[in-house]
Symmetry: C2
Subunit: 679 residues, 2 copies
């Protein structure tokens, strides 16, 4: 059933973020990430693994240019020996494909981030660079619309032959996301044309009709990208292709078992179809499984389709999957994916802190999924999860100076283990400049650049405020342009004051204000008569006869909280985490000395005893929490095992200095810990 | 410097074990393990993976028989396609080798266990079976002395070409251990001849001289086996070959880097030489590294050579390595090898309980190493570790009915994780009948069969009692046969009473009695004047004018102990283990309900409050400990994360029922936990 409050993301052109906190992040993207990544895409970063992304597009463009020459023969898959890296990295063969199968997406994610940056901050020089790059990409597209440089350069005779593993539809999805964003931002629709032609070509090869492949993406994203393309162009065929992917997925006989190589014997014990969320039809799925990023992207597409087609079974599946993620399988940081083996979900309540995978991209995916659930049915449970992931699991992925990134975001780090324990080699202690598989940095960039579209969504007459950040929004209601100026004051450590100035609003206009979970239901709304407020699903709907300039205030209580886990989370038995507002806090060795396993917070210590202090960390101001704690006396001279006698079992009172989780690892390699033992 | 108390293992012919506890284990080996394994070696166990061990020997024997026929051509390595399993398991090609490279050792370990069993319990039928099998093995040996059915059947042109990986010297080591044991037990020296000829052939191919390979075993054991062969035969050349292996190991340039395939790029980050303990010369090694079983076997050989050649540098390396193992890298159960990745040691104090590898064979190896340290210099620190490993990490490897086995011995098990968490798939919750790589079951059998040689060692005039088990020992001193009858009474839960009757001892005779670490220095020795007792390194040396029949008693305090870990063991922060005498105790779900993570022992609870109870578990009587504990109230209805408020944070007093660790997993799949939270 269609939700009366169904809504969709606000157009970024209609929002200007003025918030210090988010402006700082966006400026990092604009001034650090985007320029750096352009160099990386062009293999010009000394010491970094080359991307070959632009190289591959240029090679494909040159191939197409040659294709009309007499005597031209197209590459044949299997005949051209495939190389990941050129023998001499300084001299790649200009005609060959290099890098991962999905290397094209390095560019697509970058250009999407560029689009958001240009929306907010016009930059003719950057736009010129981007326009020229798009022309190269357009030139690489085959005349029939196909675009994937891996197959174009290695032999299109094998295209769509291994949807399970070979990422063509994943590349298409990122192309499409970028194309829509870039057209919206700049009016240049060259890339949009590329995406549309590519979508049409895919539709001609994959679908329900006889003679087409009855497949779907091995790595999802096309589902939600096609929805975006549909919403931009109004072309139903894109919606239909997305729905086809959703509907076909997981049906018997399994497409992924039919195409490509048969499942090898040694993979048999693995639930391999669930890795791709293809173990059963999506409407029957009720447990988040498999590769976490893939899962988040699929569920996002499902929520899009469920909303647009008003598909109750699909909506219910989305709710169950959201619950499975957020109720059973999510870290307190909003990170998801407990294991590096398959970068995947494991089973409910299995949330190890020190071997967590919690890929930045999976937290980003959870933000995507949460917003789409909000679009389907605005309930604050979705926004709570979105905010948790954004402020913690996503932001920890990027350094405070914007120059390095985490792929993996653990909740506990013992540096020696990361160096010497083969089970933890995936857990890095310092962020890296760039990755061979560079999905996270540009993914963070495109999310931060478009954060306004997560803070606000809208429908015809309602503006939803999900995240509170200072900003100015324009919204057309009836024939009037309503202006909303929101000012979020986070200077007080105990409350979060938000002033909202609504101008030129007709009486149809509704302002929906989320009540964040972290305020514990304690807030004060003023400037509005009680009769103008209706509370539903964690949102305050304010509708009134608006004055020309109407100011209201809402103030949320923002206490420090000591948090426990569901007792089935074994890793956190007898431990607590500390949060403040949307932020999860952590201990770092830099502030608290080594051996964080010896640190405790005594039972009976109240969160209200915590003292606030501002401190500078790596050039950024952080609100530090000073928490009364205990430190167990180290015992290292009694042998490995010894009698638990009182004399060796004493504690010293200490003041724990806790920093926001996303501030960690900005001062060199050191221990870090989120969950703290209770004494 | 030679230790004045240097000693060596007692000849099993001179000991008869009468102890209920150990007799039961030995009877399991005799009545269950040995017959079952003979069936397994002959591929006659329905449903179990075939061993092919006897198949391979028969095939090699047939090949040798054919080798004199006209037109015979020997197999050429690389020409015969290598198969691990026959296409049709019911019809293996009688001429082909199947199974692991080291499949021959399945038989050698079995025949060694048979030897010990026959020593204690003559059985003409079993001996006939064994004699006939030995004749097959002898027939498989090449005329020049070479014996490894993998190369004999696949092509001897490649023999000794990959000492690093291909286990020829490992097979030889097990052959030799078995051969000495069988000759000692039965007087049949046919297998001893096989081992001697094989040793001579190896000496002709590997050694310091020009033209020989300057290599050493990739999987150690030959080092200690050659010492045993030397001690049995008096032939110095065997001692020299062992010393050569010890001396050459880890020298630059690394032999393992020279022979065989070069190290592939993807292995580069791994400290690959350390996996084989070949990263530096053994005398420079001071940290236990690499594959744990390999390490234990090497260190055992080092201790043998250090003792026999009075090599101070080697002795010091042995002490450092023993300390590294037992002080930094050993579980409270005596298990070693923290990770399944490479079945290996990790770094100091990294002792995860739920992902532990702690292979049964590694605990067995630690028993070997400890006894050899005792032989070198009898200090009770070595015996304490030996006893800890034997009663816990080794015994847990075999089911109480002797019919199934653990390869991996974790200290904490959550069955769902073993099924659904790819990081814990190696952790089984129920013992298995047999393994494709069947090293542990026969290794346990040969250790249990020869446990008397770990309980007692001797030198010219001294009998060392390391483990207290009821038994009768004969020992020649001067020209007299001294009889020692030891009776260990463990019926009291608070003390361990030992009566020792010494008969016919000359005044030269010394009885050295270990003071176990678990008695906390509390013991009473009676029946001996104070002047007759000298205490050194944890042993009481009793020397006196012995009466014809002289009885003395020693009674060890045997308290329940609550044990902590060195605080650098992060996994055990805030946790205690419970021990009683040499036994480590554990909680099982069967006795304590599910969610063992919620169980605690309150600070202030004294170990003296523990109550004893006898109970029957899977047909065996166990001493159960009833420990006053607490159980945290489960909270599963508050969402995944919630405020740590007092109302949800309550505990109920419970009585924890703890069973000896080695009793675990004998009542079906369930949770188990050794380390318990303190409240």
């Amino acid at each position: 059933m269609r939700d009366e409050h169904e809504n969709r993301a606000i157009d970024l052109k209609n929002i200007r973020i003025t918030d210090d906190f988010w402006k700082t992040e966006q400026e990092l993207v604009r001034t650090e990430v985007i320029p750096y990544q352009w160099e990386a895409l062009n293999d010009r970063v000394p010491g970094a693994a080359p991307s070959f992304a632009m190289h591959n597009f240029r090679a494909a463009k040159a191939l197409r240019a040659r294709s009309h020459e007499p005597g031209f023969t197209a590459p044949v898959f299997g005949k051209v020996p495939f190389e990941v890296l050129p023998e001499d990295p300084a001299h790649p063969d200009p005609g060959k494909f290099y890098g991962f199968l999905f290397q094209d997406t390095d560019f697509y994610k970058w250009i999407e981030a560029v689009a958001y940056s240009l929306t907010d901050h016009p930059d003719p020089e950057l736009q010129k660079t981007a326009d020229e790059a798009i022309t190269i990409v357009a030139g690489a597209q085959a005349e029939d619309g196909y675009l994937d440089t891996y197959y174009i350069l290695n032999g299109r005779n094998a295209e769509f032959s291994n949807l399970r593993d070979n990422h063509e539809l994943y590349c298409f999805g990122h192309l499409t996301e970028a194309a829509v964003a870039y057209a919206q931002a700049t009016g240049n629709s060259e890339l949009l044309g590329v995406a549309e032609r590519c979508a049409s070509y895919i539709s001609s090869k994959i679908g329900a009709e006889e003679g087409k492949k009855h497949g779907y993406p091995g790595h999802e994203i096309a589902e939600m990208a096609l929805v975006r393309l549909y919403e931009e162009t109004g072309e139903e065929k894109y919606l239909n292709l997305s729905r086809y992917f959703i509907d076909e997925r997981g049906k018997d006989p399994k497409y992924f078992g039919l195409e490509g190589r048969p499942q090898p014997e040694h993979e048999k014990p693995n639930p391999v179809f669930s890795y791709y969320q293809a173990h059963k039809p999506v409407r029957e799925q009720d447990e988040a499984m498999g590769h976490a990023v893939r899962a988040m992207y699929l569920y996002s597409g499902m929520a899009d389709i469920a909303r647009l087609t008003d598909d109750d079974a699909l909506k219910e599946a989305c709710r169950k999957l959201f619950s499975s993620v957020s109720r059973d399988k999510m870290y307190v940081t909003g990170g998801v994916g407990s294991t590096h083996i398959g970068e995947a979900f494991t089973f409910p309540y299995d949330l190890p802190n020190d071997t967590a995978y919690t890929e930045s991209c999976a937290a980003i995916g959870l933000v995507f999924f949460s917003r789409r659930m909000l679009e389907m049915e605005p309930k604050s449970i979705y926004a709570d999860v979105m905010e948790r992931a954004l402020y913690n699991g996503v932001l920890s992925g990027i350094a405070l100076d914007g120059k390095s990134f985490f792929y993996v975001n653990p909740l506990e780090v013992w540096p020696e283990a990361s160096h010497r324990d083969a089970r933890k080699l995936h857990v890095k202690n310092v962020r890296q400049k760039w990755f061979g598989c560079a999905c996270c940095p540009p993914n963070i960039a495109r999310l931060l650049g478009s954060v306004g579209a997560y803070a606000y969504t809208e429908n015809e007459d309602t503006l939803f405020t999900h995240l509170y950040m200072s900003s100015e929004i324009k919204k057309r209601v009836d024939d009037r342009e309503v202006s909303v100026k929101l000012s979020a004051d986070r200077s007080s450590p105990v409350k979060w004051d938000v002033k909202i100035l609504v101008e030129n609003a007709p009486s149809d206009f509704t302002l929906a204000l989320r009540i964040p979970g972290w305020c514990g239901g304690k807030y004060e709304l003023s400037g509005v008569p009680e009769s103008a407020v209706c509370k539903k699903d964690g949102y305050l709907y304010v509708k009134k006869d608006w004055a020309d300039a109407d100011e209201l205030q809402i103030s949320f209580s923002c206490p420090v909280r000591f948090i426990r886990s569901d007792t089935r989370v074994r890793e956190n038995s007898g431990k607590i985490a500390v949060t403040h507002g949307p932020l999860v806090y952590c201990l770092e060795e830099k502030d608290n000395g080594p051996d964080l396993n010896l640190v405790m917070i005594e039972r009976g210590t109240e969160a209200s005893e915590v003292v606030f202090e501002n401190a500078e960390i790596a050039g950024r101001t952080a609100e530090i929490l000073l928490v009364p704690g205990l430190r167990e006396q180290p015992v290292t001279d009694q042998g490995l095992y010894f009698d638990a006698e009182e004399k060796t079992d004493t504690c010293t009172p200490v003041t724990l200095r806790m920093i926001p989780y996303f501030f960690w690892a900005n001062r060199g390699e050191n221990e870090m810990q989120v969950w703290i033992r209770r004494a």
